[in-house]
């Protein structure tokens, strides 16, 4: 019940944000012309969409098994990350105030989901299929490559290693949200930060369409920056996770640029085949 209630609020909130952003940034004429082109558009992006859905499904199926494998490999880098960056996250938290915590919690939960959703709507409307194809492939790459890292490394976030130095702001203020996040991910998957990588991916893609959607370019860049800060402010991610997440975003966007003509995508995703192999062998 907690979970459904929370999901419901999230859904309503994000839909409202998408609607407002749509009203602000989108071309109304194009939007009304969409129904006639829907089928055509769906055909154009079918392979890209299947790729993304496939990766998400794999992610879902593989998560528990991946966690077992991850512990079996036993490459726990939590201590190493702490050695590298020390108490940096605690330094970020120096600015913490209750209103700011509410703000960043909102950014982390609602802002992030909005950031990932809006481009799909906005690019769907464009005559050019390129941006939406690129976006779907880049998302799939983020999740796919992220999954490989999650399987290879055990990495707890700062709140799990330094509970008295780093405050657990989000889950203390909104314990319900932890029920949601722990349902979609495990607390050993801090490296890299998927919040960072997806947000930065969206901002990088928005830069490419800034001629069409200049307002979205500005908003997505600002919001992505806030999401990045929120992951550390809330004590969920290390700076190292954030840097790795940004690198993952750059890599995903570059790969998506080059390989979003899908017939060639098959050659590009070695991590999927590896993951599958491991899964099958372990069965």
């Amino acid at each position: 019940m907690v979970l459904l209630e929370f999901l419901g609020k999230l859904l309503v909130g994000v839909l409202a944000m998408v609607a407002i952003a749509g009203w602000l940034f989108l071309d109304r004429e194009q939007a009304t012309a969409v129904p006639q082109r829907s089928w055509q558009r769906l055909r154009e992006i079918a392979p890209h969409l299947s790729l993304l859905v496939g990766v998400l499904a794999l992610n879902r199926v593989f998560r528990n098994l991946g966690q077992e494998l991850s512990w079996m490999l036993g490459w726990n880098i939590t201590g190493l990350i702490y050695t590298i960056e020390g108490d940096f996250v605690a330094l970020v938290q120096v600015i913490a105030t209750p209103p700011l915590t509410v703000f960043f919690s909102f950014v982390y939960l609602y802002g992030y989901v909005f950031l990932a959703t809006f481009p799909v709507v906005a690019y769907w409307l464009l005559a050019d299929a390129d941006p939406i194809q690129r976006t779907l492939v880049a998302y799939a790459l983020n999740y796919g490559i992220g999954l490989v890292f999650y399987t290879l490394f055990v990495a707890f976030g700062p709140r799990n290693l330094l509970p008295n130095t780093v405050q657990e702001l989000l889950y203390t203020a909104y314990p319900q949200s932890q029920i949601l996040t722990s349902t979609v991910n495990t607390n050993t998957n801090a490296f890299p930060s998927l919040h960072t990588s997806l947000s930065v991916t969206v901002a990088l893609l928005a830069r490419r369409t800034r001629d069409v959607y200049p307002g979205w370019y500005a908003l997505s860049t600002g919001l992505a920056a806030l999401v990045v800060v929120s992951t550390m402010y809330l004590g969920i991610h290390w700076a190292t996770d954030v840097v790795a997440g940004a690198l993952l975003a750059v890599a995903s966007v570059r790969l998506a640029d080059r390989y979003h003509d899908l017939p060639r995508v098959g050659e590009l995703l070695p991590e999927r085949t590896r993951v599958r192999t491991a899964e099958r062998r372990n069965d």
Binding site: M1, V2, E5, N64, L69, W71, M72, L73, G74, W75, N76, I77, T78, G79, L80, Y82, T83, V148, L152, V154, F156, R159, N160, L161, L162, P163, N164, E168, Y171, T172, P175, Q176, Q178, I179, T181, S182, N187, T188, R274, T277, A278, R281, N282
Partner: protein, 630 residues
């Protein structure tokens, strides 16, 4: 010099692991396995090199107390020139590393509560150093302690207490582990449920058997102090009971677990999957059950002693005639006899070396023989055991022979992440358990929820014995659900939202204010015999040196932990028997640590003093201030 040099043990050979990884797959995994072992980031200590120590503990989500003790120790070790890293590890992996694979330098964890002090025997006896489970994970070897541990189990009264005191003092000197503090478990309970038999401990077998939805029209009991009054105060209060609401979801009581192991694995014999073992104790009955501190007939309807213990005594146990397993099969003497043999060697003689069960084999080892006299009677033979200790053997879960017999073979799949030879019985997840307990398995949604339902044919339904009266008639609910909560705060939010009635596992002290603010929540405080401790691997230098272990112990400020980390809900201690009447008087806590006082005050280390002490013990420092082993 160590007063008892433990046997040198070659470093663990990792070929088996590599071979196992090879099985999983070549590619990334195989390559990684070849390049980096699991401890690859943390080099072992080499003489003349600066020391590097990894401290394994639980992540804050799972156990903030253990993690904070580990962090404190790591910081102070770093201050005295030892490079220490905390490695947060999920429960089952931590337990596997410590209790099965002996792959650790130092760990911080709670030791699950045991009733009789005889638990010290398997915990510290050198004979158990290679046994999986809470059986000497330290690799501690001391001949004197061994014989004292064997002696105490046949002594009684003051004599036994005297021996136990000597054992505690020797353990304190040798410090194979540093006891840190005993914990008072905190739980949140919705006012829609009422506690029964043991108001102090809902999360126990007897607690769950007498838990009930609150009765109709019961007004809040004004005489009972509400949880708000206990907020932030260290004093212990009795559980508050304010039944005022009636609705639970269709007769089901739902409890949260922040330990998800019971939602993946229901094997009562697994040391890595069991913590307190409460969930499986509901599914599996034992011949005797500890009620009000005494072991009383339970699955047995009576027992008779003959012969003279401690030398050569026997116990004839008569099993209830109508006892059945959850699958309808009759429970008889064969099952009981099988259980004791199986616990001592889960391979049933098929493997070269016996594979004792990682849980309960310590208690099963009290028996010298077990014999079926007839269909419902077994004769248990003991040697060199007092009656009080012998009765402990009656508290092991009885297993159905027809289910477990086929689990005696060597484990292949589960052996991937271990070097030890284990049997299927030990690694089996047992996700469709067949027991004879008052609750039976109904449904498991892995890692999400476990649903148990009353076992209608259980003997408690029409039990008449006086000591069983509080439990007679069976449970007052139609189902008992355990569901996962990712953390203590999340667990409380589930209760507040009406998605659960109570927290099964303890919550963090930091959650107390949240409970205090909500009038529909009650706080229960249970003083337990569960103690947090720092365990050292005496097989690995420098922890093979008792002097070094004692110095490390002095980097721990136990009084500070009890106040700050446990927030007053716990007592600092210097002995594993601190909360029993067998505590050695010389180890009683009086304002300060009687054995290994902290080098400092109020949680602050006096670095110079501590470094001086390490120097005096013969350790040296490099110019950079790093401690080196010579």
């Amino acid at each position: 010099m160590p007063d008892d040099p433990p046997a040198e043990r070659p470093p663990v050979d990792r070929i088996g692991r590599r071979r196992a990884l090879g099985l999983i797959g070549t590619g990334v995994f195989g390559l990684l396995g070849g390049c980096y072992g699991p401890d690859g980031l943390l080099d072992r200590s080499v003489p003349g090199e600066p020391l590097s120590v990894s401290i394994k503990s639980l992540p804050a989500d799972a156990d903030t107390r253990a993690l904070r003790i580990a962090r404190f120790l790591a910081e102070n070790l770093t201050a005295v020139g030892v490079d220490a890293t905390v490695v947060p590890t999920r429960r089952e992996t931590l337990m596997r590393d410590v209790l099965v694979n002996q792959q650790f330098d130092v760990y911080v964890a709670p030791f699950p509560e045991r009733a009789d002090p005889d638990f010290l025997r398997p915990l510290f006896h050198s004979r158990y150093a290679e046994t999986a489970g809470w059986y000497n994970p330290f690799g501690f070897e001391d001949g004197d302690v061994d014989s004292l541990l064997e002696l105490q189990r046949r002594q009684r009264g003051d004599q036994r207490r005297q021996t136990l005191a000597t054992i505690q003092e020797q353990l304190s000197r040798a410090q194979p582990l540093s006891v840190v503090a005993f914990v008072d478990e905190l739980r949140a309970l919705s006012s829609s449920v009422a506690l029964g038999y043991d108001a102090n401990d809902v999360h126990s077998k007897l607690g769950y058997l007498t838990l009930s939805p609150a009765e109709l029209d019961t007004r809040p009991d004004q005489a009972v102090r509400p949880a708000t009054e206990t907020t932030g105060t260290p004093e212990r209060t009795e559980t508050t009971r304010t039944p005022e609401r009636t609705e639970t979801s269709d007769g089901t009581i739902r409890m949260t677990l922040t330990d998800e192991r019971a939602l993946k694995n229901l094997n009562p014999l697994s040391a890595t999957a069991r913590g307190d073992g409460v969930v499986t104790s509901l599914l599996y009955d034992s011949l005797g059950q500890r009620i009000d501190g005494r072991v009383r007939p339970w699955l047995a309807d009576s027992w008779t002693w003959s012969g003279e213990l401690p030398v050569d005594g026997t116990l004839d146990v008569s099993i209830r005639e109508d006892a059945t397993w959850h699958d309808g099969t009759d429970l008889d003497a064969n099952d009981v006899a099988f259980t004791y043999r199986f616990l001592s060697d889960t391979s049933m003689g098929a493997l070269e070396d016996p594979v004792p069960a990682p849980r309960f084999s310590g208690r099963a080892s009290l028996l010298t023989d077990v014999e079926e006299l007839d269909n419902t009677t077994v004769r248990l033979a003991f040697d060199s055991v007092s009656r009080a200790v012998a009765r402990e053997a009656l508290t092991v879960p009885v297993l159905p022979a027809h289910v477990w017999e086929s689990r005696a073979s060597e484990a292949l799949a589960g052996g991937i992440d271990t070097e030890e030879t284990l049997t299927e019985a030990v690694v089996w997840a047992n996700r469709d358990p067949v027991g004879s307990g008052p609750l039976q398995f109904r449904r498991l949604q892995p890692q999400e929820r476990l649903v148990l339902s009353p076992f209608e044919d259980h003997f408690l339904a029409d039990a008449t014995a006086t000591h069983l009266r509080p439990f007679a008639g069976g449970v007052a609910y139609d189902g008992l659900t355990f569901r996962r909560a990712p953390s203590s705060e999340a667990a409380i939010s589930l209760i507040k939202n009406g998605d659960a009635e109570g927290t099964g596992l303890g919550i963090a002290p930091s959650s107390i204010p949240t409970i205090g603010r909500d009038p529909s929540l009650n706080l229960s405080v249970t003083p337990t015999r569960t103690f947090y401790h720092v365990g050292y691997n005496a097989r690995r230098p420098p922890f093979d040196d008792p002097a070094f272990r004692r110095l490390v112990a002095r980097l721990l400020d136990k009084g500070y932990f009890a106040d700050e980390v446990f927030e007053g809900y716990g007592d600092p201690a210097a002995s594993p028997l601190a909360r029993t009447d067998s505590l050695a008087p010389s180890l009683a806590w009086e304002q300060r640590d009687p054995a290994t006082p902290f080098f400092g005050e109020n949680g602050r280390l006096d670095t110079d003093r501590a470094r001086g002490a390490f120097r005096d013990a013969g350790y040296q420092y490099t110019d950079e201030g790093e401690l080196v082993v010579t």
